[in-house]
Subunit: 229 residues, 4 copies
């Protein structure tokens, strides 16, 4: 496994803390090497300030540890299910960031109320259903991945780079683990804005479709003109 992917994964995990997205050990970031079929992920329950690249755990797609002396994040089966179902993504972040978690707890999706949202997510941030008793008792973390995938049956994971798991918290992803971190931050900010926009205007409806599409397209469409060439 290239050391650079371990280092990137370490930095992504640390950045979650710096950005205020993770309290204590409530979150994890992973990256995949599609060529090697291997995933680098945060160790379970290790404090962020003590982590080094050596603590990063390398697992194969069946979840077997193939590198590192630590146990991988207990959420690893969720990450693996998503990497398998979404072949275009290269990194995943799970966090219990405050405002995204508030929407997850309230069991509400986040409608697109403004261009901040439209710049990164095409349409609402979706929410899964609650897991059944059986899904919780057997392969809980794997099934968390399955209800996310079920929710994405007709969605493109790169156009909608994150989800709220009902009663739990957020997962975000992207082409790289850095993009997954940024999408987690974006989700947190748009959740905060949406919460208070609804307080100010309880009957608020989504931004007109033509503005939503414009903003998404100017950043991510075939004729995108945002950023440097």
């Amino acid at each position: 496994m290239p050391e650079s992917l371990k280092r990137e994964t370490l930095l992504a995990n640390r950045r979650l803390v710096k950005l205020g997205l993770v309290t204590l050990t409530w979150g994890n970031a992973s990256a995949i090497s599609r060529e090697k079929g291997l995933v680098v992920i945060k160790p379970s329950g290790v404090p962020y300030n003590a982590m080094t690249a050596k603590d990063m755990v390398v697992i194969d797609l069946s979840g077997k540890v193939v590198g590192g002396r630590r146990r991988p994040s207990s959420d690893s089966p969720t990450h693996l299910a998503l990497y398998e179902a979404f072949p275009t993504i290269g990194g995943i972040v799970h966090s219990h960031s405050t405002y995204a978690t508030i929407f997850a707890q309230a069991c509400r999706e986040i409608p697109c109320f403004g261009t901040t949202h439209a710049d990164a997510f095409s349409g609402p941030v979706p929410i899964t259903r609650l897991l059944t008793k059986h899904e919780v008792e057997e392969q809980y973390e794997r099934n968390t991945g399955r209800v996310i995938i079920e929710r994405f049956r007709s969605l493109d994971p790169l156009a909608v780079p994150g989800v709220l798991v009902a009663g739990h918290a957020s997962f975000t992803w992207g082409k790289s683990v850095q993009a997954a971190v940024e999408n987690n931050l974006i989700l947190e900010r748009i959740a905060e804005m949406a919460l208070h926009s609804l307080a100010l205007n309880p009957g608020l409806t989504a931004l007109p479709e033509h503005i939503q599409r414009k903003h998404y397209e100017r950043k991510h469409g075939p004729d995108a003109y945002y950023g440097q060439k």
Copy 2:
């Protein structure tokens, strides 16, 4: 009294400030040595940035100062009552952190709305009743301990590591003073999330029991698999 317990107690008190849980002198942490029957506690009303391990006060279980030149926290009788009633705990934190105090002031317990809560507290965060006129006039701080203990008649203090005192603020505890600090931080975060989850969905009910139990058990149950071995 071992110097290490004084040092741990000092660091725990300072960490409360760093984590934003304590404003001015609104909080205190203590640790108990069960073997020696002695408690180390923060001095009363001393600014955190000026405190050293020497300022920590050692008291016996009757509240008598046996070490240190300072007066102990005025909340010492509450700490002592809890150490006596809850023999499994090793450290206690009291703080007026913003969101936990908001629930205490509103006289509402915190229902378990998500896995962030279920990971640390088994069931709702309970709230005491208000103290009577008599309980306030005589042995106020001791009686604060008593109403907490009354509320915990059928609760396990390690499964429910904290409480809201109605009209006042929070007490949290754990096997060590470090655990008590972390539980205070967790309580603050879940209180903030619960407040806004209720704003977003005023009829919100608790997370299904099977998800609550699963999360608590995967961290604290006999077959816990979270964290390193």
Copy 3:
């Protein structure tokens, strides 16, 4: 004028910024020497990070500048009116801190909802009436002091160390300028807690009188036992 009072006033002004109570130049602190009949106050509209003790302005009780090359805070006449009416106070702070200002703008006093409040303020934090057209047009800042004094006709300024000016923001005070700063911080925190306690429980009433009194007395009464001797 003793240099030490200038230095204390400078540090008090800077601490307002560090504590997050002041944005840009929205606040000022002053201290009085009762013996000399002189007041040290922040200069008007000078950025905090550029201020030195030399920028502090010394004025007499009529408002005449007797020391320093700067113009005094435009709120000086309010400070002077309060020093004249409240002979027991030694320092005053004015700030537009977020949550205190929210209550001032909403024209609502802050009821005592918990012991955090009761520890510092005896009873609700009062609010003035709005100034009339005439009071605004002539001697506006002096009249701001007058409506505060009017509101305090039957209140002890040391037992109630602050006020909300309707539609404007807060003034707090204390025996020293340091105490005035701490009371401004306390007011900001209890305003934040009160706002959200009301959101959580819109019918919330004040803490029972016997608990309010107990907390105030244990810190400030004749038999106070909080803090070091």
Copy 4:
């Protein structure tokens, strides 16, 4: 183009991040040299911590790049439209700061609820209408400027130094780019206060006109007496 204007524009952009007004690349600041008919603006999508004065882009009033190797902010046509329509302004800031964006998303102007607001904005902070489908499809950024200008038909841009674009976020301006940054910060703070003032008092009406006018005039009127001479 004088290097000093590039440097000021760089510092203004960086200050937006330090003040917490900009997340990721969600904002930009520009300055105009009226003599040369040239505008300095942030490059598009470049991370703030990597930007140097050399990355600043110089464009003429038609939008043509005349200095710098980068592509200018995609919002440049909005800035240019405003510089053309508002000849008294010297700097512009666009940001998606949390609370200003919340009002923009909720499609509500910000009434003047207190003196903090009145000190900087004469009257409410206005909001534009939503752009039509046609305005979005052709010259979207230019049309964003046009709906702002349409809203300012009877307003003085120096007396009302900012606007909310419906469903989007804020633009603020001033005589210099530094003033534009400060007005963006002021807008963010008054939006936060207004949101919670409305929560506390849903029927709240604007501050009486005589107090609004007094505060604006004491800072900005012909007889202003706030600040140093």
